[in-house]
Protein backbone atom coordinates (compact mmCIF):
# COMPACT_ATOMS: atom_id res chain seq x y z
CA UNK A 1 0.00 0.00 0.00
CA UNK A 2 1.47 3.34 -1.04
CA UNK A 3 1.64 6.65 0.74
CA UNK A 4 -0.37 9.62 -0.58
CA UNK A 5 1.20 13.02 0.04
CA UNK A 6 -0.54 16.26 -0.88
CA UNK A 7 1.59 19.31 -1.67
CA UNK A 8 -0.28 22.46 -0.71
CA UNK A 9 0.30 26.07 0.36
CA UNK A 10 -2.82 28.21 0.31
CA UNK A 11 -1.08 31.04 -1.48
CA UNK A 12 -0.32 30.79 -5.18
CA UNK A 13 3.07 31.11 -6.75
CA UNK A 14 5.13 29.74 -3.87
CA UNK A 15 6.22 26.67 -5.79
CA UNK A 16 3.72 23.87 -5.19
CA UNK A 17 3.93 22.50 -8.71
CA UNK A 18 7.72 22.83 -8.87
CA UNK A 19 7.97 21.09 -5.50
CA UNK A 20 5.59 18.30 -6.56
CA UNK A 21 7.48 17.72 -9.81
CA UNK A 22 10.86 17.70 -8.12
CA UNK A 23 9.91 15.53 -5.15
CA UNK A 24 8.18 13.08 -7.48
CA UNK A 25 11.21 12.91 -9.74
CA UNK A 26 13.62 12.69 -6.80
CA UNK A 27 11.68 9.75 -5.34
CA UNK A 28 11.79 8.06 -8.75
CA UNK A 29 15.55 8.71 -8.84
CA UNK A 30 15.76 6.83 -5.56
CA UNK A 31 14.07 3.86 -7.18
CA UNK A 32 10.51 4.31 -5.92
CA UNK A 33 7.37 3.80 -7.95
CA UNK A 34 5.74 7.22 -8.03
CA UNK A 35 2.54 8.69 -9.44
CA UNK A 36 1.91 12.43 -9.46
CA UNK A 37 -1.63 13.79 -9.63
CA UNK A 38 -2.39 17.30 -10.83
CA UNK A 39 -5.62 18.42 -9.16
CA UNK A 40 -5.45 21.99 -10.46
CA UNK A 41 -8.32 21.46 -12.88
CA UNK A 42 -8.63 24.30 -15.37
CA UNK A 43 -5.10 25.58 -14.75
CA UNK A 44 -2.96 22.51 -15.18
CA UNK A 45 0.78 23.07 -15.00
CA UNK A 46 2.43 19.91 -13.72
CA UNK A 47 2.56 18.39 -17.18
CA UNK A 48 4.33 21.49 -18.53
CA UNK A 49 6.92 21.50 -15.76
CA UNK A 50 7.51 17.77 -16.34
CA UNK A 51 7.66 18.24 -20.12
CA UNK A 52 4.87 15.72 -20.69
CA UNK A 53 2.22 18.04 -22.12
CA UNK A 54 2.24 16.47 -25.59
CA UNK A 55 1.65 12.96 -24.25
CA UNK A 56 -1.69 13.60 -22.58
CA UNK A 57 -4.65 11.69 -23.98
CA UNK A 58 -7.11 11.44 -21.11
CA UNK A 59 -7.24 13.44 -17.88
CA UNK A 60 -8.55 13.35 -14.33
CA UNK A 61 -12.04 14.54 -15.26
CA UNK A 62 -12.29 11.86 -17.94
CA UNK A 63 -11.56 9.26 -15.27
CA UNK A 64 -14.07 10.83 -12.85
CA UNK A 65 -16.80 10.86 -15.49
CA UNK A 66 -16.05 7.32 -16.62
CA UNK A 67 -14.83 8.08 -20.14
CA UNK A 68 -11.70 6.02 -19.56
CA UNK A 69 -10.08 3.73 -17.04
CA UNK A 70 -7.64 5.18 -14.51
CA UNK A 71 -4.55 3.51 -15.98
CA UNK A 72 -5.45 4.76 -19.46
CA UNK A 73 -5.16 8.34 -18.24
CA UNK A 74 -1.75 7.85 -16.61
CA UNK A 75 1.11 9.45 -18.54
CA UNK A 76 4.44 7.66 -18.26
CA UNK A 77 7.47 9.87 -17.74
CA UNK A 78 10.02 9.98 -20.53
CA UNK A 79 13.00 9.65 -18.17
CA UNK A 80 11.88 7.00 -15.68
CA UNK A 81 10.02 3.73 -16.09
CA UNK A 82 8.35 3.94 -12.72
CA UNK A 83 7.24 7.58 -12.75
CA UNK A 84 3.71 8.40 -13.88
CA UNK A 85 1.45 11.41 -13.91
CA UNK A 86 -2.33 11.83 -13.86
CA UNK A 87 -2.94 15.18 -15.58
CA UNK A 88 -5.72 17.63 -14.74
CA UNK A 89 -8.27 18.72 -17.32
CA UNK A 90 -7.71 22.12 -18.87
CA UNK A 91 -11.22 22.76 -20.13
CA UNK A 92 -13.27 21.98 -17.00
CA UNK A 93 -13.16 23.47 -13.52
CA UNK A 94 -12.77 22.34 -9.92
CA UNK A 95 -16.47 21.67 -9.42
CA UNK A 96 -16.52 18.96 -12.06
CA UNK A 97 -15.03 16.43 -9.68
CA UNK A 98 -15.90 15.63 -6.08
CA UNK A 99 -13.55 14.82 -3.17
CA UNK A 100 -14.98 11.27 -3.13
CA UNK A 101 -14.00 10.71 -6.77
CA UNK A 102 -10.44 11.92 -6.15
CA UNK A 103 -10.26 9.79 -3.02
CA UNK A 104 -11.27 6.69 -4.98
CA UNK A 105 -8.59 7.39 -7.59
CA UNK A 106 -5.91 7.86 -4.94
CA UNK A 107 -6.97 4.65 -3.19
CA UNK A 108 -6.72 2.75 -6.46
CA UNK A 109 -3.30 4.22 -7.27
CA UNK A 110 -2.02 3.39 -3.78
CA UNK A 111 -2.32 -0.29 -4.66
CA UNK A 112 0.22 0.01 -7.47
CA UNK A 113 2.56 2.82 -6.39
CA UNK A 114 4.90 3.49 -3.47
CA UNK A 115 4.18 7.22 -3.43
CA UNK A 116 1.33 9.33 -4.74
CA UNK A 117 2.23 13.03 -4.92
CA UNK A 118 -0.87 15.22 -5.19
CA UNK A 119 -0.33 18.72 -6.53
CA UNK A 120 -2.95 20.97 -4.92
CA UNK A 121 -4.29 24.18 -6.48
CA UNK A 122 -3.95 27.52 -4.70
CA UNK A 123 -6.80 28.52 -2.41
CA UNK A 124 -8.84 26.67 0.18
CA UNK A 125 -12.03 26.03 -1.77
CA UNK A 126 -13.31 23.04 -3.72
CA UNK A 127 -9.95 22.38 -5.42
CA UNK A 128 -8.21 22.18 -2.06
CA UNK A 129 -10.88 19.86 -0.67
CA UNK A 130 -10.53 17.62 -3.72
CA UNK A 131 -6.76 17.50 -3.36
CA UNK A 132 -6.65 16.60 0.33
CA UNK A 133 -9.47 14.05 0.14
CA UNK A 134 -7.28 11.01 -0.39
CA UNK A 135 -4.09 12.23 1.27
CA UNK A 136 -2.41 10.43 4.16
CA UNK A 137 -0.11 13.34 4.92
CA UNK A 138 0.70 16.78 3.63
CA UNK A 139 3.63 18.93 2.67
CA UNK A 140 2.99 22.63 3.16
CA UNK A 141 5.12 24.85 0.95
CA UNK A 142 5.80 28.43 1.95
CA UNK A 143 8.23 31.16 1.04
CA UNK A 144 9.88 33.51 3.53
CA UNK A 145 7.21 36.18 3.09
CA UNK A 146 4.57 37.20 5.61
CA UNK A 147 1.68 36.67 3.21
CA UNK A 148 2.80 33.14 2.33
CA UNK A 149 3.37 32.23 5.99
CA UNK A 150 -0.07 33.58 6.90
CA UNK A 151 -1.73 31.42 4.24
CA UNK A 152 0.36 28.39 5.19
CA UNK A 153 -0.88 28.82 8.76
CA UNK A 154 -4.49 28.88 7.57
CA UNK A 155 -3.94 25.74 5.50
CA UNK A 156 -2.25 23.92 8.39
CA UNK A 157 -5.32 24.72 10.49
CA UNK A 158 -7.59 23.21 7.83
CA UNK A 159 -5.37 20.14 7.47
CA UNK A 160 -5.45 19.64 11.25
CA UNK A 161 -9.24 19.69 11.09
CA UNK A 162 -9.09 16.88 8.52
CA UNK A 163 -6.54 15.08 10.72
CA UNK A 164 -3.81 15.16 8.10
CA UNK A 165 -0.36 15.70 9.57
CA UNK A 166 1.71 18.28 7.76
CA UNK A 167 5.38 19.01 7.30
CA UNK A 168 6.89 22.22 6.07
CA UNK A 169 9.10 23.14 3.13
CA UNK A 170 10.43 26.69 3.00
CA UNK A 171 11.04 27.49 -0.62
CA UNK A 172 13.01 30.21 -2.41
CA UNK A 173 15.21 31.30 0.46
CA UNK A 174 17.76 33.97 -0.37
CA UNK A 175 20.58 33.48 2.13
CA UNK A 176 21.92 37.00 1.69
CA UNK A 177 18.59 38.63 2.40
CA UNK A 178 18.03 36.43 5.45
CA UNK A 179 21.45 37.41 6.74
CA UNK A 180 20.71 41.12 6.44
CA UNK A 181 17.33 40.64 8.10
CA UNK A 182 15.32 41.68 5.03
CA UNK A 183 13.78 38.23 4.75
CA UNK A 184 12.07 36.17 7.46
CA UNK A 185 14.45 33.58 8.80
CA UNK A 186 13.78 29.88 9.08
CA UNK A 187 13.50 29.76 12.87
CA UNK A 188 10.96 32.55 12.88
CA UNK A 189 8.75 30.76 10.34
CA UNK A 190 8.99 27.44 12.17
CA UNK A 191 8.08 29.13 15.45
CA UNK A 192 4.91 30.62 14.01
CA UNK A 193 3.77 27.56 12.10
CA UNK A 194 4.77 25.06 14.81
CA UNK A 195 5.12 22.02 12.52
CA UNK A 196 8.13 19.88 11.58
CA UNK A 197 10.46 21.23 8.94
CA UNK A 198 10.95 18.84 6.05
CA UNK A 199 13.43 20.94 4.14
CA UNK A 200 14.59 24.29 2.87
CA UNK A 201 15.16 25.15 -0.76
CA UNK A 202 17.36 28.07 -1.76
CA UNK A 203 16.23 30.39 -4.53
CA UNK A 204 17.93 29.24 -7.71
CA UNK A 205 17.62 30.64 -11.23
CA UNK A 206 18.18 27.17 -12.60
CA UNK A 207 14.73 26.19 -11.32
CA UNK A 208 13.07 28.65 -13.70
CA UNK A 209 15.23 27.50 -16.59
CA UNK A 210 14.51 23.87 -15.84
CA UNK A 211 10.74 24.43 -15.59
CA UNK A 212 10.71 26.16 -18.96
CA UNK A 213 12.55 23.32 -20.61
CA UNK A 214 10.30 20.66 -19.07
CA UNK A 215 13.14 19.07 -17.16
CA UNK A 216 12.75 18.99 -13.34
CA UNK A 217 15.60 20.72 -11.51
CA UNK A 218 16.52 17.59 -9.53
CA UNK A 219 17.99 16.10 -12.68
CA UNK A 220 20.80 18.67 -12.61
CA UNK A 221 23.02 17.90 -9.60
CA UNK A 222 24.99 21.13 -9.99
CA UNK A 223 21.98 23.14 -8.84
CA UNK A 224 21.68 23.84 -5.11
CA UNK A 225 17.91 23.55 -5.34
CA UNK A 226 18.33 20.08 -6.84
CA UNK A 227 20.39 18.95 -3.85
CA UNK A 228 17.75 20.40 -1.54
CA UNK A 229 14.97 18.45 -3.28
CA UNK A 230 17.00 15.24 -3.21
CA UNK A 231 17.54 15.72 0.52
CA UNK A 232 13.81 16.22 0.99
CA UNK A 233 13.05 13.01 -0.92
CA UNK A 234 15.47 11.09 1.30
CA UNK A 235 13.81 12.54 4.40
CA UNK A 236 10.43 11.39 3.08
CA UNK A 237 11.90 7.88 2.87
CA UNK A 238 12.91 8.21 6.52
CA UNK A 239 16.63 8.98 6.20
CA UNK A 240 18.20 11.47 8.57
CA UNK A 241 19.70 14.17 6.37
CA UNK A 242 20.96 17.40 7.94
CA UNK A 243 19.56 20.71 6.67
CA UNK A 244 21.75 22.16 3.96
CA UNK A 245 23.91 25.11 4.89
CA UNK A 246 22.77 28.36 3.36
CA UNK A 247 26.19 29.98 3.54
CA UNK A 248 27.53 30.90 0.14
CA UNK A 249 30.69 29.14 -0.81
CA UNK A 250 33.09 31.92 0.05
CA UNK A 251 35.81 32.70 -2.45
CA UNK A 252 39.45 32.52 -1.55
CA UNK A 253 39.75 36.26 -1.27
CA UNK A 254 36.66 36.56 0.95
CA UNK A 255 37.90 33.75 3.20
CA UNK A 256 41.27 35.45 3.47
CA UNK A 257 39.61 38.70 4.50
CA UNK A 258 37.50 36.83 7.03
CA UNK A 259 40.67 35.25 8.37
CA UNK A 260 42.14 38.68 8.85
CA UNK A 261 38.97 39.79 10.54
CA UNK A 262 37.99 42.51 8.09
CA UNK A 263 35.40 40.55 6.10
Amino acid sequence: MGDAIVVTSGKGGVGKTTTSANIGTALALLGKKVCMIDTDIGLRNLDVVMGLENRIIYDLVDVAEGRCRLNQALVKDKRFDELYMLPAAQTKDKHDVSPEQVKDMVLELKKDFDYIIIDCPAGIEQGFRNAIAGADRAIVVTTPENAAVRDADRVIGLLEQSQISAKLIINRIRPNMVKTGEMLDIDEICQVLAIDLLGIVPDDEKVIKAANSGEPTVMDPSSRAAIAYRNIARRILGDMVPLMSLEDKAGVFKRFRKFLGIG
Partner: protein, 221 residues
Protein backbone atom coordinates in the same frame (compact mmCIF):
# COMPACT_ATOMS: atom_id res chain seq x y z
CA UNK B 1 -22.85 -6.59 43.42
CA UNK B 2 -19.10 -6.55 43.13
CA UNK B 3 -18.67 -3.17 41.44
CA UNK B 4 -18.57 0.15 43.21
CA UNK B 5 -21.70 0.98 45.13
CA UNK B 6 -23.53 4.02 43.84
CA UNK B 7 -25.99 4.34 46.69
CA UNK B 8 -25.27 4.83 50.36
CA UNK B 9 -28.12 4.59 52.84
CA UNK B 10 -27.76 6.40 56.15
CA UNK B 11 -30.04 6.58 59.12
CA UNK B 12 -30.70 10.06 60.47
CA UNK B 13 -33.06 11.48 63.02
CA UNK B 14 -35.78 12.30 60.49
CA UNK B 15 -35.62 8.96 58.69
CA UNK B 16 -33.29 7.64 56.03
CA UNK B 17 -30.83 9.49 53.83
CA UNK B 18 -30.20 8.06 50.35
CA UNK B 19 -26.88 9.41 49.06
CA UNK B 20 -26.68 8.82 45.31
CA UNK B 21 -23.41 8.88 43.40
CA UNK B 22 -23.21 11.88 41.03
CA UNK B 23 -20.63 10.51 38.57
CA UNK B 24 -22.24 7.35 37.22
CA UNK B 25 -25.02 6.87 34.65
CA UNK B 26 -28.49 7.73 35.88
CA UNK B 27 -29.83 4.32 34.78
CA UNK B 28 -27.20 2.59 36.95
CA UNK B 29 -28.62 4.38 39.96
CA UNK B 30 -32.17 3.32 39.20
CA UNK B 31 -31.08 -0.31 38.77
CA UNK B 32 -29.17 -0.33 42.01
CA UNK B 33 -31.97 1.38 43.89
CA UNK B 34 -34.39 -1.26 42.69
CA UNK B 35 -31.96 -4.03 43.64
CA UNK B 36 -31.30 -2.66 47.11
CA UNK B 37 -34.95 -2.19 47.93
CA UNK B 38 -35.94 -5.65 46.75
CA UNK B 39 -32.97 -7.79 47.73
CA UNK B 40 -30.34 -6.56 50.15
CA UNK B 41 -32.00 -4.14 52.52
CA UNK B 42 -35.33 -5.85 53.14
CA UNK B 43 -35.15 -5.97 56.90
CA UNK B 44 -34.27 -2.30 57.24
CA UNK B 45 -36.90 -1.15 54.85
CA UNK B 46 -39.85 -3.03 56.18
CA UNK B 47 -41.99 -2.04 59.14
CA UNK B 48 -43.26 1.39 60.12
CA UNK B 49 -43.49 4.43 57.85
CA UNK B 50 -40.08 5.91 57.10
CA UNK B 51 -39.32 9.32 55.64
CA UNK B 52 -36.75 9.31 52.86
CA UNK B 53 -34.49 12.20 51.85
CA UNK B 54 -32.68 11.67 48.55
CA UNK B 55 -29.43 13.55 47.96
CA UNK B 56 -28.22 13.67 44.35
CA UNK B 57 -24.80 15.24 44.99
CA UNK B 58 -23.83 17.58 42.18
CA UNK B 59 -26.04 15.81 39.66
CA UNK B 60 -28.74 18.02 38.16
CA UNK B 61 -31.77 15.80 37.72
CA UNK B 62 -34.77 16.72 35.60
CA UNK B 63 -38.32 16.47 36.98
CA UNK B 64 -38.79 13.30 34.96
CA UNK B 65 -35.72 11.67 36.49
CA UNK B 66 -36.84 12.67 39.98
CA UNK B 67 -40.23 11.10 39.29
CA UNK B 68 -38.47 7.87 38.25
CA UNK B 69 -36.63 7.79 41.59
CA UNK B 70 -39.89 8.42 43.46
CA UNK B 71 -41.60 5.63 41.52
CA UNK B 72 -38.92 3.10 42.46
CA UNK B 73 -38.97 4.02 46.14
CA UNK B 74 -42.76 4.17 46.28
CA UNK B 75 -42.90 0.46 45.43
CA UNK B 76 -42.22 -0.21 49.10
CA UNK B 77 -45.39 0.88 50.80
CA UNK B 78 -43.71 2.06 53.98
CA UNK B 79 -41.29 4.47 52.32
CA UNK B 80 -42.27 8.11 51.86
CA UNK B 81 -40.09 10.37 49.76
CA UNK B 82 -39.84 13.71 51.50
CA UNK B 83 -37.29 15.48 49.32
CA UNK B 84 -34.94 15.05 46.35
CA UNK B 85 -32.15 17.59 46.37
CA UNK B 86 -29.01 18.40 44.43
CA UNK B 87 -26.10 20.45 45.74
CA UNK B 88 -26.45 24.09 44.79
CA UNK B 89 -24.34 24.92 41.76
CA UNK B 90 -21.75 27.41 42.81
CA UNK B 91 -21.39 30.66 40.95
CA UNK B 92 -24.38 29.86 38.81
CA UNK B 93 -25.79 33.37 39.15
CA UNK B 94 -22.71 35.56 39.55
CA UNK B 95 -21.28 34.65 36.16
CA UNK B 96 -19.73 38.06 35.61
CA UNK B 97 -17.18 37.80 38.39
CA UNK B 98 -16.55 34.09 38.00
CA UNK B 99 -13.05 33.33 39.26
CA UNK B 100 -12.97 30.07 37.34
CA UNK B 101 -10.25 29.62 34.76
CA UNK B 102 -10.71 27.54 31.66
CA UNK B 103 -7.49 25.93 30.47
CA UNK B 104 -7.01 25.02 26.83
CA UNK B 105 -4.07 23.69 24.85
CA UNK B 106 -3.48 24.31 21.17
CA UNK B 107 -2.53 26.77 18.49
CA UNK B 108 -5.10 29.27 17.25
CA UNK B 109 -4.12 29.52 13.60
CA UNK B 110 -5.02 32.01 10.89
CA UNK B 111 -8.76 31.96 10.25
CA UNK B 112 -9.60 30.21 13.51
CA UNK B 113 -11.69 31.83 16.22
CA UNK B 114 -12.02 30.78 19.83
CA UNK B 115 -14.85 32.10 21.95
CA UNK B 116 -15.10 31.62 25.67
CA UNK B 117 -17.38 32.73 28.44
CA UNK B 118 -15.20 33.45 31.49
CA UNK B 119 -11.45 33.56 32.01
CA UNK B 120 -9.21 31.68 29.66
CA UNK B 121 -5.70 30.29 29.89
CA UNK B 122 -4.41 29.22 26.50
CA UNK B 123 -1.30 27.09 26.48
CA UNK B 124 -0.07 27.65 22.95
CA UNK B 125 0.21 30.44 20.43
CA UNK B 126 -2.31 32.72 18.78
CA UNK B 127 -1.04 33.21 15.23
CA UNK B 128 -1.67 36.23 13.02
CA UNK B 129 -5.18 35.99 11.63
CA UNK B 130 -6.38 33.98 14.64
CA UNK B 131 -8.87 35.52 17.08
CA UNK B 132 -9.60 34.98 20.74
CA UNK B 133 -12.85 36.31 22.26
CA UNK B 134 -13.36 36.09 25.97
CA UNK B 135 -15.77 37.70 28.40
CA UNK B 136 -13.15 37.61 31.15
CA UNK B 137 -9.35 37.70 31.31
CA UNK B 138 -7.13 36.19 28.65
CA UNK B 139 -3.82 34.61 29.58
CA UNK B 140 -1.67 33.21 26.79
CA UNK B 141 1.14 30.90 27.81
CA UNK B 142 2.84 31.29 24.46
CA UNK B 143 3.09 34.00 21.85
CA UNK B 144 0.13 36.25 21.14
CA UNK B 145 0.48 37.31 17.50
CA UNK B 146 -3.19 37.50 16.51
CA UNK B 147 -6.18 39.39 17.85
CA UNK B 148 -7.28 39.07 21.47
CA UNK B 149 -10.53 40.54 22.77
CA UNK B 150 -10.96 40.39 26.53
CA UNK B 151 -14.16 41.57 28.21
CA UNK B 152 -16.10 41.01 25.00
CA UNK B 153 -19.28 41.22 27.07
CA UNK B 154 -18.42 44.76 28.13
CA UNK B 155 -16.29 44.27 31.25
CA UNK B 156 -13.50 46.84 31.48
CA UNK B 157 -11.65 45.40 34.50
CA UNK B 158 -10.17 42.51 32.55
CA UNK B 159 -6.63 42.01 31.28
CA UNK B 160 -4.85 40.32 28.41
CA UNK B 161 -1.57 38.74 29.41
CA UNK B 162 0.90 36.86 27.23
CA UNK B 163 4.32 35.28 27.58
CA UNK B 164 5.27 37.08 24.41
CA UNK B 165 3.11 40.04 23.45
CA UNK B 166 3.20 40.58 19.68
CA UNK B 167 -0.47 41.08 18.84
CA UNK B 168 -1.98 42.33 15.60
CA UNK B 169 -4.63 44.02 17.66
CA UNK B 170 -5.80 44.10 21.26
CA UNK B 171 -9.33 44.79 22.38
CA UNK B 172 -10.69 45.23 25.86
CA UNK B 173 -14.44 45.88 26.07
CA UNK B 174 -14.98 48.57 23.39
CA UNK B 175 -11.42 49.87 23.26
CA UNK B 176 -9.36 48.78 20.27
CA UNK B 177 -5.63 49.27 20.18
CA UNK B 178 -3.02 48.29 17.64
CA UNK B 179 0.65 48.13 18.26
CA UNK B 180 3.05 49.64 17.67
CA UNK B 181 1.36 52.98 16.78
CA UNK B 182 -0.22 53.30 20.17
CA UNK B 183 2.22 51.67 22.50
CA UNK B 184 5.70 50.39 22.12
CA UNK B 185 7.01 47.47 24.10
CA UNK B 186 10.53 46.46 24.88
CA UNK B 187 11.23 42.78 24.60
CA UNK B 188 7.48 42.06 24.81
CA UNK B 189 8.09 39.28 27.33
CA UNK B 190 5.55 38.61 30.09
CA UNK B 191 3.37 41.63 29.59
CA UNK B 192 -0.27 42.40 30.08
CA UNK B 193 -2.72 44.92 28.69
CA UNK B 194 -5.38 46.69 30.74
CA UNK B 195 -7.63 49.72 30.59
CA UNK B 196 -6.79 52.88 32.50
CA UNK B 197 -9.16 55.83 32.00
CA UNK B 198 -10.48 54.27 28.82
CA UNK B 199 -6.98 53.91 27.36
CA UNK B 200 -5.15 50.69 26.64
CA UNK B 201 -1.98 50.35 28.69
CA UNK B 202 0.76 47.74 28.58
CA UNK B 203 2.93 46.83 31.51
CA UNK B 204 5.18 44.10 32.87
CA UNK B 205 3.30 41.27 34.53
CA UNK B 206 5.15 42.05 37.78
CA UNK B 207 3.15 45.27 37.99
CA UNK B 208 -0.21 43.50 37.84
CA UNK B 209 -0.60 43.45 41.65
CA UNK B 210 -1.06 47.23 41.65
CA UNK B 211 -4.19 46.73 39.59
CA UNK B 212 -5.76 43.84 41.44
CA UNK B 213 -7.62 44.28 44.68
CA UNK B 214 -6.54 40.97 46.16
CA UNK B 215 -2.81 40.50 45.77
CA UNK B 216 -1.06 38.08 48.10
CA UNK B 217 -0.03 39.79 51.30
CA UNK B 218 2.74 38.16 53.32
CA UNK B 219 2.70 38.78 57.01
CA UNK B 220 5.43 38.50 59.63
CA UNK B 221 9.06 37.72 59.03
Amino acid sequence: MTEKQHITIKGVKEGLLFLLDDQCEFSAILDELQYKLEKTHQQVLTGPLIHIHVKLGSRQASEEEKEQIRAVIRQRGNLLVQSIDSDKQENADNKGASPELKMLTGVIRSGQTLQHDGNLLLMGDVNPGGTLYCTGDIYVLGTLRGVAHAGSGGRTDVIIAASLMRPTQLRIADVISRPPDEWITGDAAMEFAYLADGQMQIDKISQLFRLRKDPIVFKGV
